[in-house]
Symmetry: C2
């Protein structure tokens, strides 16, 4: 009896990070071997160099906005987006099992997580020092490592399990409409046969109304845009790369026609991937 | 003989910050009393509450992209954009007068400034520790405060003057196409009579092709867009506020018509200001 090989999926952060939870949600718990990496660069590099089979990176949070670094890295590497995953971000207050709420003198977490739990902290831990750390799961990891009994971390329930911490309070985020969209990266493109999304990046020739013309290649073919993001074009101040997601599959003729049309006014165009569209996280 | 009153202009950072240099460039050295503030929030709040007459904040850097926090703050406050200023960012290596290059064991600066001088540091100070600080001018201020003779800071020439430091090396940034665009904030709108730019923010009703339709209200009237930026609409995941700059003056009929047209498809629309258009920083 042979043991089925698990897929190595690289993510940024320590074990118990939200990215790891997203990888498990996408591939299924038994199918994936999550690989913690120090930086987003390492995730991209590790997949590109054949070290890991897949990577997963956050691209946008519904409260904080886009993770622009990962847009820049998409352009710099030769990888394909092969899927997307939405994850509801649930923040929890974690501490060593012997720690009670009234023992806590410091709360560690990523600045964004601390900000997203501000109301709860003001109400339940008023005046307690908040210390910014590199990532949420890392703030959980340090508690047993340093034996910190007077401290707590804000992180996922997965981080509580990984580091043997107790849940002093669950779901402490101020706004429950807190979702992150993750992209799954691979070396080869997939051919989605179901409802698909396609991500592209392009730069435009310098001419009046050129962004309007670029969007018209989709509107004229009834192709719906789901996201547009601009990033500076280095070396050319005040010119931009546009990252665009649209509902459609690159095997469809209307999508191929739209991109051929876009090519006429673009100085640069690259398809980042066509992949199955996930259900967007939202209560609506 | 009465002494003319100087305009109080709030900026984020310590004395010698790039924002202060931008304020001086915009108003003229003799006309302005720069007011250092801890945070961008303090700049907006200080102007809104009549404490200071004007504020100045960076909105976009040609290498690093937009300063999204300031887009969010524009929406949250009831201020007008009354001008814009481009500043070429020149980074310098500063140290106490007695310090020589070979004495340096640590270099302090904002993470972005450290990153923008990476090649120079690798070549001239290989292996020397780089320490991230809250702002560039603050990293200069600490050298005399703490008497640090074995350290240097990366900051502006203005910071060197303010804190009595010597310029060990000037213009050490790796990419000279490094410009920042600043916005000048006031409580009352101005009426530009020269070449003008107008900044607006809007949200769109949820319908297919609605962003294309929004941009068409400008294209149909030959109004040129100079910038578009999207930010998450809190509480409504995957919906956005769009921040848009266009070449034109709100006193022009075609601009008024365009915004009336936009109102038909927008769920929210606000004019952030019509102001004289500055010459964009660039060698081209």
């Amino acid at each position: 009896m042979s043991v089925p090989k698990k897929l190595h999926v690289a993510f940024q952060g320590e074990r118990g990070a939200y990215s790891e939870a997203a990888a498990v949600a996408f591939f299924g718990a038994g199918e994936v071997e999550p690989i913690p990496c120090t930086s987003f660069d390492d995730v991209f590099q590790g997949v590109q160099s054949y070290r890991w089979e897949r990577g997963i990176v956050p691209i946008e949070n519904s409260l904080a906005g886009s993770i622009h670094r990962n847009y820049d890295l998409l352009l710099r590497h030769d990888l394909q987006i092969v899927g997307e995953q939405y994850l509801r971000i649930v923040h929890n207050l974690l501490a060593l099992p012997e720690t009670r709420l009234e023992d806590i003198r410091r709360v560690y977490s990523h600045p964004q997580a601390l900000a997203q739990c501000e109301d709860w902290l003001d109400e339940h831990l008023p005046g307690i020092e908040r210390v910014a750390t590199y990532d949420t799961a890392g703030s959980a990891k340090r508690l047993p490592e340093k034996g910190q009994k007077e401290a707590a971390a804000i992180a996922s329930t997965q981080a509580a399990r990984v580091y043997g911490l107790s849940l002093l309070a669950a779901g402490i985020e101020d706004d429950i409409e807190n979702y992150t969209r993750f992209l799954i990266l691979g070396r080869e493109s997939v051919v989605p046969d179901d409802v698909a999304k396609t991500s592209i990046v392009f730069a435009l020739k310098d001419a009046p109304g050129v962004l309007f013309k670029a969007l018209s290649v989709f509107a004229l073919r009834d192709i719906d845009l789901t996201k547009i993001e601009s990033r500076p074009l280095k070396g050319k101040p005040w010119q931009y790369f546009f990252y665009l997601d649209f509902a459609g599959n690159m095997t469809e003729e209307r999508c191929q026609n739209a991109l051929r049309h876009l090519q006429e006014i673009a100085s640069f165009l690259r398809v980042l991937g066509s992949y199955p569209q996930a259900k967007a996280g939202s209560r609506e």
